[in-house]
Symmetry: C2
Subunit: 260 residues, 2 copies
């Protein structure tokens, strides 16, 4: 049974996750971050000790949650040498097997959401993707997941990698489309508020109907006059122009090839 | 004062707009569509006459609302010959001057939203963009707009064109990102429900913070390992791979060049 937890990492994801676990009754023993102020801030919020060197990391937690950048995980595992401890990472694109050389009991606890420090989140709505080296550990992680989220799923490393890739399109690239929209509006002194209802409706439609059925606009109609005029308008923004062309072509292909 | 309205066109936009105007107390005299069944269905919903030939279009409406595809507008104006009538179009990318040879009193009444037939919409939340050939007509259209929407704006044709372009990015291309996400998940038997909270949170964040500040993920961190692995995963989808690469580059540029 997991009762005590140490966090390795104190970024946005670690912060939201640690707060949710604390709230669900878990004891956060310690927060490590290589930046002392980050460790201090999060540790204070969850009544934990803070540390900023690997040598100070305690050895008595039931679970170690690594919430580091993908690149930082392996060096941390090498240095920490917690081989007999139960440890999980929180990354979408790293396989569970990354722990093989450094642990016997290990797993993945991946919350699928976009985390920004300034933003409060209802963790119960965040899907959690679980994987572990043994069935018993999967059950333990599922139990912990059920205490903080309504949506807990077992996913293989291969599935999680694909989900993470899909999340890059639906979150990061979508947000980039918003960013391009903001940039274009600023050039003509148009308030971004005009686009906000459209952004919400576009997101809401896909909650209840397939994206294919929801599509509208010049590309799906293959309205060449509008597409050409838009490309012409974008001549000062070669990046946006390229994206415009390829997104329009890709929309047209996906609709003419009969993808669902 | 506008009291009676004829609709030229009976598509998704015409349907939502006619229902909102009817509900606000306007009398819809007639609905024209070249497809008889479309004209009949909408006419019935708004207590209007239906017609499907231009010769039958009545001459006594206070306002003619053209809700046609961009390509169909000019031929319709040529055939109808309503020169002494007040007429508006509802298109984002057509200038108001398109009416010049065919009318004296004319304007634009552009509701910025993505319209699907199956989807109920609260019209009061939809921004309306107004432009007209004379100030008095702008006031009349603003008055009509205020009765159905909380957000009515005067925008020039140049501004509206830019807004429409921005809407293609934030709505059509965003929906395409959702479509790509769905396609990728289907390949690994992952339920699309897992992405829905992420999609909502991404849209909600940009309601209250700049898109630049909201960005997360491998591209903004320029995490080359993840980006390369994702491109490799997309090798069976050359369209998606191209979009992945250009969107990632564009995110990186926009963030390193200091765009707001």
């Amino acid at each position: 049974m997991i009762k005590t937890i140490a966090f390795i990492g104190a970024g946005n994801l670690a912060t939201h996750l640690a707060l949710a676990l604390k709230h669900a009754g878990y004891r956060i023993l310690q927060v490590y971050s290589r930046t002392q102020s980050s460790a201090d801030i999060l540790a204070k919020r969850v009544d934990a000790d803070a540390c900023h060197s690997f040598a100070e990391v305690r050895r008595d937690a039931d679970l170690y949650i690594f919430a580091l950048s993908d690149k930082a995980l392996l060096p941390a595992l090498k240095t920490l040498q917690l081989k007999d401890k139960f440890m999980v990472h929180t990354a979408g694109s790293l396989p569970v097997s990354i722990f093989e050389a450094y642990a016997t009991d290990y797993g993945v606890f991946y919350p699928l959401q976009t985390f920004s420090k300034a933003r409060e989140l209802d963790f119960s709505k965040i899907p959690l993707c679980i994987e572990a080296s043994r069935t018993e550990l999967e059950s333990e992680l599922m139990l912990m997941g059920d205490k903080i989220s309504q949506s807990v799923q077992l996913l293989s490393s291969k599935q999680r990698k694909q989900l993470h890739l899909a999340a890059v399109f639906t979150c990061n690239f979508t947000n980039h489309m918003y960013h391009i929209g903001q940039t274009l509006l600023q050039e003509e002194d148009i308030p971004f508020d005009l686009l906000k209802p459209l952004i919400m409706e576009t997101a809401q439609k896909v909650q209840i109907m397939p994206a294919k059925a929801a599509q509208t606009g010049p590309a799906v109609r293959f309205d060449e006059d509008v597409i050409k005029a838009h490309e012409e308008s974008l001549k000062m923004h070669p990046d946006f122009q390229k994206l415009y062309r390829f997104a329009s072509e890709s929309i047209y292909h996906l609709h003419s090839e009969g993808y669902d």
